[in-house]
């Protein structure tokens, strides 16, 4: 499939006399194929918004290459801007204008036909509140308006930064359906979000960024499989036999990562049948043997090293740096 969005070796450095140099983007790569819903994930301060802003011409990069719809940006941005709908970070609108006025002014600036305004208002569920001033809107309603403004151009590439921010559960589900429908209609959607369950549900592929570098990318299933630890949950007929079972498995080279009151957790198990055989040899009979699939949240926390540790307060910028040390590092000022 052709790439709608390509980023190679993108660099952005912020320099400050007092705080030194910070690499917000440190050779970041990303590729999004046409017609996909692509999740763009990363901890706070990892460079997601900087990437999107750079891509959209709001920030000047210090190095690297970017292309949208096959055209190099930012040079060709005026030519492709008509095909990109975007919201970056929290939506902000002029508070005294109504939603209809806001969209009407944008449509007029972008030569979008007026009937499209009603279409997008209907699409995001603001049809009946379109005549009210934006200052009376809740965060969720502003979010819907932002999505409406991004959809106004009927873009080929839709970039949404935290679109579910402030939405109620019904709104999140509507947004999910909308994203899927848009992708099915041929639109490519890039979605930045921290609601990883949502990303796993609606995205075809993901890119995970940490400290300005890509730490994982590809189809969601592949990323999960690639970073799955081969965890297996095993129960035996009598819970009192679990210590014996654990000892037998450990002797056979299988890693027992957790001993719960009623089951064991194993990792590094290539063939679950090995477990059955080993335990049967000890006269222990398996009542449950389940391969535990990794979810996106655990993969994300693992890859970015941002899982909470009891008794520790993780600071922003404390996450994994690809190509650096194995341990979590700080990429803050002076890094």
């Amino acid at each position: 499939m052709p790439a709608v969005l390509e980023i190679e070796g993108l660099r952005k450095t912020y320099k400050s006399r007092r705080r030194g140099t910070r690499n917000a983007l440190d050779g970041f790569d990303m590729r999004v194929e046409a017609g996909q819903v692509h999740g763009f994930l990363g901890p706070n301060g990892s460079g997601k918004t900087t990437t999107l802003r750079t891509l959209l011409g709001l920030i000047r990069p210090d190095g690297g290459r970017m292309a949208i719809l096959g055209q190099e940006v930012p040079a060709a941005l005026p030519a492709v801007a008509g095909h990109i709908g975007a919201i970056v970070e929290s939506p902000q609108f002029f508070p005294h204008f109504t939603a209809r006025d806001t969209l009407s002014l944008l449509a007029s600036a972008g030569d979008v036909p007026a009937p499209r305004i009603d279409e997008v208002l209907e699409l995001v569920g603001l049809r009946d509140r379109a005549g009210e001033r934006v200052k009376t809107y809740s965060l969720g309603m502003k979010q819907r308006l932002a999505v409406a403004s991004a959809l106004l151009k009927n873009p080929k590439l839709l970039i949404l930064d935290e679109p579910a921010n402030g939405l109620d559960p019904g709104g999140i589900r509507e947004m999910r359906t909308l994203m899927r429908n848009l992708a099915e209609s041929g639109m490519t959607v890039v979605l930045s979000s921290h609601i990883l369950g949502e990303i796993q549900l609606i995205c075809d592929s993901v890119t995970i960024i940490s400290l300005g570098r890509r730490v994982a990318s590809g189809p969601v299933d592949e990323v999960l499989a690639r970073h799955s630890s081969g965890a297996v949950r095993v129960r035996v007929e009598a819970a009192t036999d679990l210590p014996v079972a654990a000892e037998a498995l450990t002797r056979a080279g299988i890693r027992v990562t957790g001993t719960e009151p009623d089951h064991l957790m194993l990792t590094g198990v290539d063939k679950p049948a090995t477990v059955t055989r080993l335990l049967a040899e000890q006269g222990l009979y398996v009542s449950e043997l389940t391969r535990v699939a990794a979810d996106l949240e655990s993969v994300f926390l693992d890859l970015t090293a941002t899982a909470p540790v009891p008794g520790q307060h993780r600071q922003v910028d404390q996450s994994t740096k690809v190509g650096g040390t194995e341990q979590p590092t700080s990429g803050g000022w002076g890094a």
Partner: protein, 339 residues
């Protein structure tokens, strides 16, 4: 073109623009109303009343002079002068003023002479239009920056300089329409005031031309004010930057500098103050005087040293300031990241 039309629409739609325009027009209407109420048309009755008042004052002065002369003569003959310096040596010098020295005009009610007075009203008109232009211009771009509207717009129109200059063009078009309309109404209003509460006599084509050119300079001043407000707010990416900057310039740059120059005894201190150039722009010339010097005349009289500030000097200052401030705003728009 669509962006220009959109920005013009946005400008007119903004509540701040509407309120500031209404406020400016109300102030101007108050000036016209005040002039209308404090002036009267001079008719035969008013002139007769003034002549009677002048005659009455002449009579009072004559009576008083006679009383004083009598008192003087009595004091001289009786040698009873309590205050030796009260009367002159020769009592005959105490005389009433000549009748013609008490002018009838002094007793006439205030009247609005279009030819004489209208020119002075063009300065407040220009000042209020420039103030409205400055504040609306600053808010037009400043609010866009602070509410994220500019970023939204740049996602649609990625050419930054085109966007900023189109916004400026829309602002100047809107202000030009307001300033020209207001100036025409100003001329019309004062013509009516002069017709009803004064006189429109002696208006020649030369006088009209002079007023028209002054009005035109006022409109240009308003456009310069709007551009400066717009550019400074764009530089600081907030309306408050322009308003704060203006207050800073007034407080530090004008009052502070004026006090400093006065303490230092600098010649022609007003040369360093902005209002001098605004006045010179509107009045074509401002003559500054230095009373600490003597320019002797053929008759041995001392005249103060003078320095003329002309509208050409003002245009140079305004032009250079405009180029520098707008240039800086465009440069930062092009270079700075938008976050």
């Amino acid at each position: 073109m669509s962006l220009y039309r959109t920005e013009l629409r946005r400008l007119v739609k903004r509540r701040f623009t509407r309120w500031m325009t209404v406020l400016g027009l109300l102030v101007l209407a108050a000036v016209v109303g005040g002039v209308f109420l404090t002036n009267e048309k001079i008719d035969a009755t008013a002139r007769a009343k003034a002549e009677a008042a002048a005659e009455q004052q002449y009579q009072e002065q004559t009576r008083w002079a006679e009383q004083e002369r009598a008192a003087c003569e009595a004091a001289k003959s009786g040698g009873t002068a309590a205050d030796p310096g009260r009367f002159p040596d020769d009592c005959s010098v105490i005389t009433a003023p000549p009748r013609e020295s008490i002018e009838v005009d002094w007793f006439l009610p205030s009247t609005f002479d279009f030819r004489e007075n209208f020119g002075f009203t063009l300065l407040p008109l220009a000042a209020i239009l420039a103030l409205v232009g400055f504040v609306v211009g600053a808010s037009f771009v400043g609010a866009e920056w602070s509410t994220g509207g500019m970023m939204n717009l740049l996602l649609w129109r990625p050419k930054r300089l085109t966007v900023l200059l189109t916004k400026l063009a829309a602002l100047l078009t809107g202000l030009l329409a307001l300033a020209v309309t207001t100036t025409v109404l100003w001329f019309g209003s004062f013509w009516i005031v002069a017709t009803l509460r004064g006189t429109t006599e002696k208006m020649t084509s030369g006088a009209w031309q002079s007023f028209a050119l002054t009005g035109l300079r006022g409109v240009v001043l308003a456009l310069v004010g709007a551009t400066v407000g717009f550019a400074v707010a764009s530089l600081g990416r907030h309306t408050a930057m322009a308003l704060g900057g203006a207050i800073g310039v007034i407080v530090v740059g004008q009052f502070g500098v004026a006090i400093l120059l006065a303490l230092a005894g600098v010649r022609f201190a007003e040369v360093w103050l902005l209002p001098t150039y605004v006045a010179a722009w509107m009045e074509k010339k401002v003559t500054l005087q230095n009373w600490q010097a003597c320019q002797a005349t053929y008759f041995g009289e001392c005249k103060p040293e003078t320095l003329d500030i002309t509208w050409q000097h003002s245009s140079l200052l305004l032009g250079v300031s405009l180029v520098l401030i707008l240039g800086a705003a465009l440069w930062t728009m092009r270079r700075r990241d938008i976050s």
